[in-house]
Subunit: 157 residues, 2 copies
Amino acid sequence: MFSQTVEYALRTMTQLAASAPAACTTEQVATATQVPRAYLSKVIQGLCQAGLLKSQRGTGGGISLARVPSEITILEVVNAVEPIERIHTCPLNIQTHGTHLCPLHRRMDNALASVEMAFRNSTLAEILAEPTTSRPLCHIPCAPSSTSSSPPDPESV
Amino acid sequence: MFSQTVEYALRTMTQLAASAPAACTTEQVATATQVPRAYLSKVIQGLCQAGLLKSQRGTGGGISLARVPSEITILEVVNAVEPIERIHTCPLNIQTHGTHLCPLHRRMDNALASVEMAFRNSTLAEILAEPTTSRPLCHIPCAPSSTSSSPPDPESV
């Protein structure tokens, strides 16, 4: 039910939140998140356009969060790349239904609402602070890009 | 988050539940559900393969539910055409995570679980019995196919 794009966007944001406030190169994020380079560039582009990421060219630049991790929810990340489309009016355009959904579409919308609520109540900071033996994307730390020998690829963001 | 295929499958099953135990032609279902004929044939094929629908050729035949509406849940319909894929193991194959999901994937799986539970607890019969001013697909009743002048199209199911 969650697309590859949503999965990749969440990995990307989580990785950058773990590195915040430092910036990372696209290459570093690609390695840490296991997202193919070309796919990642598109995901990052969407997240930049949504105002969740910012990119800075040149030495010491890279991609970083536009806000602090405690102010970015999972819901914002999901909606930035593939908005959860709630059902507000009858999808069949039955005039007598309008905004009064039938029991089928009411149940579908309730399910969407429950996902929305769960994701609205989780920030990137909470995900990273939660005590766990399985830290997200823990296998490859993303070193601050200022220590990287190569500047970020301007084509990639 | 719910695909067009899921939406169409649920409309189809709801329409046939409303007509049960009578059979309908694909044409009748297409009209009632506003699903394009070619798309509907594929959806019906999937629902037949999953054992939720049965088709009977010849005069008085058509498509009908394989079980009574009180024994078919929304979850079964959704899973028949686009299974909800729960997250059982780390999608990044991080060895130390295994089945112990990190907080990110745990939240994603919890959201999937909530949708699964909501859909598992709703049957087609409940959807049709619920008091409402917005009866599902109410605008065009599906007449029993035995009164239809044309037999069902055997190519369509």
